[in-house]
């Protein structure tokens, strides 16, 4: 198995200027290696939602993409409040975002459900007052 290409980005709390930068970088690499557009779209949506989640809800964190010839793995890690009820957070429309965040057009409660919908494998673990970790895998040939 060849070595994956690694892209890693730090995410800061409330820094919306940076939102979308990691997902466009990942997207560009996938385009260059010839991954199909539908697949790229899923990776881009999953990583964008992930970035936004960290920026809105946590105190900061990182997103890492490992790009293999056959798949992209996305790793998300943040420190912060964590998610008390992961089952609730996975429901469409469930949101704990503040009004201020909603005014910006975010916080519709679709983040986690969208991330799950876009990935082939999805794992989440969260500890209250510590942080959240998410792993997503998207295969290139599905």
């Amino acid at each position: 198995m060849s070595e994956p290409m690694k892209l890693e980005f730090q995410l800061e709390q409330d820094n919306f200027d940076f939102a979308g930068v990691p997902s466009s970088r990942i997207k560009k690499v996938l385009q260059q290696i010839g991954v199909k557009n539908e697949i790229i779209r899923r990776v881009a949506v999953a990583s964008y939602e992930a970035e936004i989640n960290v920026i809105i809800h946590s105190l900061g964190g990182s997103i890492k993409a490992l790009i293999f010839p056959d798949r992209t793995e996305l790793y998300l890690e943040d420190i912060g409040p964590g998610i008390p009820r992961v089952d609730l957070a996975m429901q469409e429309g469930f949101s704990t975002a503040t009004d201020k965040i909603r005014e910006k057009g975010f916080g519709a409660g679709m983040g986690l459900p969208n991330m799950k919908r876009c990935s082939d494998e999805f794992e989440i673990s969260s500890e209250v007052d510590v942080g959240t970790k998410i792993k997503m895998i998207i295969f290139h040939n599905k």
């Binding site: 290409m5 979308g20 260059q32 290696i33 010839g34 557009n37 790009i67």
Partner: protein
Amino acid sequence: METFFRSVGLKADRCKGCVSCIKRCPTEAIRIREGKAHIIESKCIDCGECIRVCPNQAKFAITNHLEDTDIYKYNIALPAPSLFSQFELKYSVEAILCGLLRLGFDDVYEVAKGAEIVAFKLKEYLRQDGVPKPVISNACPACVRLMQISYPELIPHLLPYEPPVEVAARIARTRALENNPLLQADDIGVWFIGPCPAKMTAVVHPLTEKSSNLNGVIAVSTIYGKLHKTIPRTDAEFAECDNRLGELARWGGVTWGVAGGESDSVDSPRGTGLIVHGIHHVKEMFEQLSDMKLTGVEHVEVLACESGCVGGALMVQNRFVGEHNLRTRIDAMKTDKNADRFSIDGKNLELMEMCESCAPVKIYQPVPIDENMSEALRKVEQMEQVLKQLPGLDCGSCGSPTCKVLAEDIIRGFAAETDCIFKLREKVRDMARAMVDLAEHLPPSFEKSEDKRDDC
């Protein structure tokens, strides 16, 4: 591999090999090689940005001349609504159309009448259930081409009907055959009179699987001088067009000539429609749409030229003047006795409906950096390494628009690292140092006496 026709050409003697066009091109389709601009045809979308930005007028659009109509027995002019923006209000639409007839065309048919029909269908389509939202307009061929090349995942969002110019051409052709029983289909030439290099490509190399209903494009800038002279000024001149002009298009069609017109014509509810003009802005919007970052938007009007077609690359008037002229004309039409939004002939609507299935556009897959994905991945990594070594000034002196594109060109084998003048200078400096070092290093037999080694 298919062959591409591009409607942007280069007058090589005028091109100085400056970097204006490579920096402005939205698809990074231009490189400077041997002192001249070269277009990578598979990437070009004919938006006309390079024509607009070239300080030496070296770029031009390959469009038709009036003489090209000579080979047809019967010629029909299809003026774009934006043509009216080139004339002050004192010249009526009738006068401009009559001017086209007096130039030698056998018939005229306004593209705005095609736009009325598309607007009518678009209005209906927006209300249908299960339609992929937002619906993206397909009236601008440069935007459609951009989508085909870079955002094919958005194609299901395109309005699945023929664009106004094709609808108008179909109607004009059918009408001509009905009214002139002696004519054969091959006798008729249908010519778009507009400001758009992308339309020309769409004629020669259609966006859909179907061939175009047009025979060619005559640029506004080509025809303007002559048309200005043939616009009737006296009653006798006007009389030449008696009974030759059909019913005029209403404001709901004419308004398509300016940004926001399409949205205005379908009267989309406040807050559900977006109007995006200028190809760089359109690209940004496609990026957003592709990542599904927009919600609650029903309709997106996209136009490659700023201000819409009135800002076309092949116009004569300044775009703000053109926009003012057309908007003033539309305002006047809205308060006219014929102020209806549309006036659509049921028969023409049928002609449009016959063609609902001819809209799906072709898709171009971008060429990956290597056919083998593992190898491609390795090359992308290599590219990152090359990029880190480049100065990141994006000066364009190497002939590629940015350092990033140069890195890709190097890996693809189209350029060398020393094409970068900074890398070249570094290499020259290293070589000079090496020469000095070598010059100082003398064989032992040449050594001077004061440098004598102990063992001697």
